[in-house]
Symmetry: C2
Subunit: 193 residues, 2 copies
């Protein structure tokens, strides 16, 4: 993080990171599969922990279990680390490959949660949708938490629950248009080359 803050991610070579840590470049690659991974150390273990929380929770609707597990795993750990989280997010946002790695990690977490719901007896399709819905709430809540200018705003756990509630409101409405895509659909109904 020191080197990234100084020269940026792209401007920092693996050799420099290794040297700062008192190691060689080759050793770095024994610990991290690629350069990006150094910013996501421990994410697999965290996903496992969230999954375990989902499994262990008392009976509840699927989405409630997901948001409770996410709040419990991230809310308590991250509140107090706001400035560190901001710094890390700034580095990630400034680099395309890092952003891609991050969404991929979030995807793995989604899959782990879906599987954990399955172990609670939730059927496959519902588990997938509840996991995706919970992760939408988490990502939106996290982004708001990072973006807030307030030094000590609403804690992350509260935000997650509120975002999940807002998501429920958005998905509650009817899905059919008054005149089902009359203009839009006919314009593309024939196969284009």
């Amino acid at each position: 993080m020191e080197l990234f803050a100084e020269h940026g991610y792209d401007g920092t070579t693996v050799a420099e990171i290794a040297e700062r840590a008192g190691l060689t470049e080759r050793t770095f690659f024994r610990h991290f599969a690629d350069k990006r991974e150094v910013l996501f150390a421990g994410s697999d273990e965290l996903a496992e922990r969230v999954a375990q929380l989902v499994v262990d929770l008392p009976p509840a609707p699927p989405l409630a279990a997901v948001t409770a597990a996410l709040s419990s795993a991230f809310g308590d750990q991250l509140d107090g680390l706001l400035s560190w989280a901001r710094q890390r997010q700034a580095v990630i946002a400034a680099n395309r490959e890092l952003g891609e790695r991050e969404v991929a990690k979030l995807g793995s977490l989604t899959a782990a949660i879906s599987q954990a719901l399955g172990r609670r007896g939730v059927d496959g399709p519902t588990a997938r949708l509840a996991a995706e819905a919970g992760m939408v709430a988490f990502r939106v809540a996290f982004d708001r938490w990072i973006a807030d200018d307030l030094p000590a705003g609403e804690p992350l756990g509260e935000r997650i629950r509120r975002c999940a509630a807002e998501l429920g409101a958005v998905t509650a409405g009817p899905l059919d248009l008054a005149q089902p895509d009359s203009a839009a659909a006919t314009a593309t109904s024939t196969a284009s080359s």
Copy 2:
């Protein structure tokens, strides 16, 4: 796609792709920012098209507009290209970097949809959540469409609407646990090292 099917993505060099196309390696990088992009050509234009559809639709609830636009843009174009889509997804699924690029592209599409909803007068937070919700429905529907063994199953557009409806059901329930994370939260309530 021919070369990827023969030797796999990693086993195919940019030089080979360029040669097959009658070009040089450097010219390839003039058309595509990196090797991965060759599998996502036209995705930016497609995102723009979806956004335009969202803007142009008649008045409707935000999520209904999103699913209608996605169905209209992808449903008609992709049905009939199922085997091609399966081949492409197989290549992407077999390579980590390609999977990461794909989720990143889907993230860009989500942002474009959210912005388009803003131009319909939807407020920011609701736009984001409706875009995310619609994309969850799209991704789940797409995965089911690809995975189905049936040669001619339910068309993609129908699946999207059904997944959105299922998502509404999942997010409808109460969000609080009976005993708000009594066991799970207390175990991690103190700051861990």
